[in-house]
């Protein structure tokens, strides 16, 4: 082969060879199941009765549109999303800014703050189940001692979802804080120095410089957390089991119940597909916001 062709060969083929194992693996593990899932969603299949799948066209999707429990689960997910995300963003940013200050013991504080997000979610679920326990739990004890009314954290329809929210905030605020911290640490110093010279107050430099510069980070954090909250499963499984009744079922949990408790795999597949589409729409909106900034 003459020289230019060899370079061409090397430049094109070599990176592909590096990438290929990864890509093939991902395709096998994700694209293929998705295609099969799509196939399943057009069938009814009750696992375990020995019956094979029956083609039903888009009946599953039609059923999903009229499914009140599915709609409820979406509302629950939205509820958790809005509250958890809101609190986590505020607290996370506050903690990140706090950790930017210099003080003795800063490293240790930072280390300790990162702990919750690394723990086994099931373990965290049980931890909080202990804390929330009516009568024998410390939270209840503290509330009563302060003269506040007892709260049935895990067994009342109204409050159960708040327990999920609290646990999610406890576990994932550190994650948000760390991402914000990384963002804050990578901000250029010059604008801030210029602002101080011009006599800007701390609040002014925060709102005029920090916030706008952090917008990309903010969007990334939001998109990651939104997907994570849609995925929430472990804590719900342990804390409330989706209950009482179905009061804390999120969409993922509902899909699990349909697929693995009632074993209607066809319908479950269609639900998960609808959720997938929803997430893709959400992500596309967020990404377009992100690229608009650039």
């Amino acid at each position: 082969m003459d020289y230019p062709r060899r370079i061409f060969f090397a430049r094109r083929i070599v990176p592909l060879c590096f990438l290929l194992p990864c890509i093939i693996y991902l395709i096998a593990m994700t694209i293929y199941p998705l295609i099969y899932s799509l196939y399943l969603s057009f069938h009814t299949w009750q696992l375990g009765l020995g019956a094979r799948e029956i083609f039903v066209g888009i009946n599953n999707y039609k059923r999903a549109f009229y499914d009140a429990r599915l709609l409820e689960s979406l509302l629950h997910t939205l509820h958790i999303l809005v509250v958890s995300l809101g609190v986590e963003l505020l607290l996370g940013l506050a903690i990140a800014m706090f950790l930017m200050e210099e003080f003795r013991g800063r490293k240790i504080t930072r280390a300790i703050t990162t702990i919750p997000m690394m723990l086994v979610p099931i373990g965290v679920g049980y931890m909080w189940r202990l804390l929330f326990h009516e009568f024998a739990g410390p939270i209840d004890h503290i509330l009563v001692s302060l003269g506040l009314p007892r709260v049935q954290w895990l067994s009342s329809v109204k409050m159960a979802i708040w327990s999920i929210i609290i646990v999610d905030i406890w576990q994932w605020t550190p994650f948000v804080a760390m991402l914000f911290l990384a963002g804050l640490q990578s901000l250029p110093k010059e604008p801030f120095e210029a602002a101080t010279i011009d006599g800007a107050s701390r609040f002014q430099s925060f709102s005029q410089i920090t916030l706008p510069l952090m917008k990309p980070v903010l969007l990334v954090v939001i998109s990651i957390r939104i997907i994570d909250i849609f995925k929430v499963f472990d804590t719900i499984y342990v804390l409330t089991g989706g209950g009482p009744g179905s009061a804390t079922e999120t969409c993922s949990y509902y899909a699990y119940v349909i697929g693995f408790k009632t074993f209607q795999v066809g319908y479950a597949a269609s639900i998960s597909y609808l959720l997938l589409i929803l997430i893709i729409i959400l992500s596309t909106v967020l990404i377009s916001l992100l690229t608009k900034e650039r």
Binding site: R12, V14, P15, F18, P21, C22, L26, M29, T30, P33, L34, Y36, S37, L40, I95, F98, F103, T109, R110, A111, I112, T113, I115, M118, L119, V120, P121, I122, G123, Y126, M127, W128, L130, A136, P138, H141, W170, F175, M178, L179, L181, A182, G183, V217, V220, I227, K231, F233, Y237, V238, S252, Y256, G259, F260, V265, A268, S272, L275, I279, S283
Partner: protein, 277 residues
């Protein structure tokens, strides 16, 4: 004088916040550890006991004899296996993304990242059916494979971030000396980026160790992992909190230790995963 007062006020406020943060993080951990040491009579008490007077290891004994194995070993095997796969495949892919320019590179990168958007629920049903046909239910291999798949995008992204930071000169001189592409990767980049590789590996390990949904569906008895074992403890016997506490503590400790080990690199590693898009 006024300046000194402000300094003291600032310090008090700072340390107050530190204390609040520490209590916020450690109190739940303290509580579960406490419960694991309580006797059965103690954790039933109302109002709750905050400091146990007779710490006993009975719960740990029961857990050790009945529930800890094979869950603990399984967890380690799955975590190590999936971490190895995702680091090997991920470093190869990250190298290609970091060092070569080719048409469609951004698309590939974006596609790899987009797999993170995948809801596990969407994948799990077909995966379960597929594994059922292969008779791989309750087999560690199925878990290793799916965990690696979910860890891959993450590995690629973070490793790429680390690779991008290393100047090309070192590799170029090695290539002139006759080193091949893979050789460069293995002998130069990886050792230099060892902290980054370590962070990625530990993140993958922790993710796999903590994973619940797939482990729940794909394992039964032989391949059970720690989180699943924890959940089963609750169902079969009703809430025996002492034992749940003990097993919970044992499940949490490995991740805790690993986290404290990589503290230095944590923030930086996360930033590669999220910010350098």
């Amino acid at each position: 004088m006024a300046k000194k007062n402000v300094g003291i006020v600032r310090k008090v406020v700072l340390y107050f916040i530190v204390i609040v943060l520490i209590i916020w993080v450690t109190f739940p951990l303290y509580w579960i550890t406490l419960t694991s040491f309580k006797s059965e009579a103690e954790w039933k008490k109302v109002p709750p006991v905050y400091i146990t007077t007779h710490p006993n290891l009975k719960s740990y004994e029961i857990v050790y004899r009945n529930y800890l194995f094979p869950a603990f070993y399984n967890g380690i095997i799955v975590a190590v296996g999936s971490t190895i796969i995702s680091i090997v495949l991920g470093s190869l892919a990250a190298y290609a993304l970091a060092r070569y320019d080719f048409k469609g590179k951004d698309n590939v990168a974006f596609w790899i990242l987009s797999t993170r958007m995948l809801l596990p629920v969407a994948v799990i049903i077909p995966f379960f059916m597929f594994m059922r046909q292969l008779r791989l239910i309750d087999n560690l291999l199925s878990l290793v494979l799916i965990h690696a798949a979910f860890n891959l995008p993450f590995s690629v992204w973070i490793l790429r971030g680390y690779f991008l930071e290393i100047p090309k000169e070192m590799e170029e001189s090695a290539m002139v000396d006759g080193c091949s592409g893979v050789g460069v990767l293995a002998r130069i980049l990886m050792p230099i980026c060892a902290p980054g590789v370590l962070v990625t590996a530990i993140f993958c390990f922790i993710f796999s160790w903590n994973e619940f949904l797939f482990a729940l569906i794909l394992t039964q008895r032989a391949a059970i992992t720690m989180p699943v074992q924890l959940s089963k403890l609750h169902q079969t016997r009703g809430p025996l909190w002492g034992q749940i506490g003990a097993l919970g503590v044992l499940a949490i400790v490995p991740a805790l230790i690993l986290t404290l080990l990589i503290q230095r690199y944590l923030v930086r590693g996360l930033s590669f995963g999220a910010l350098k898009e």
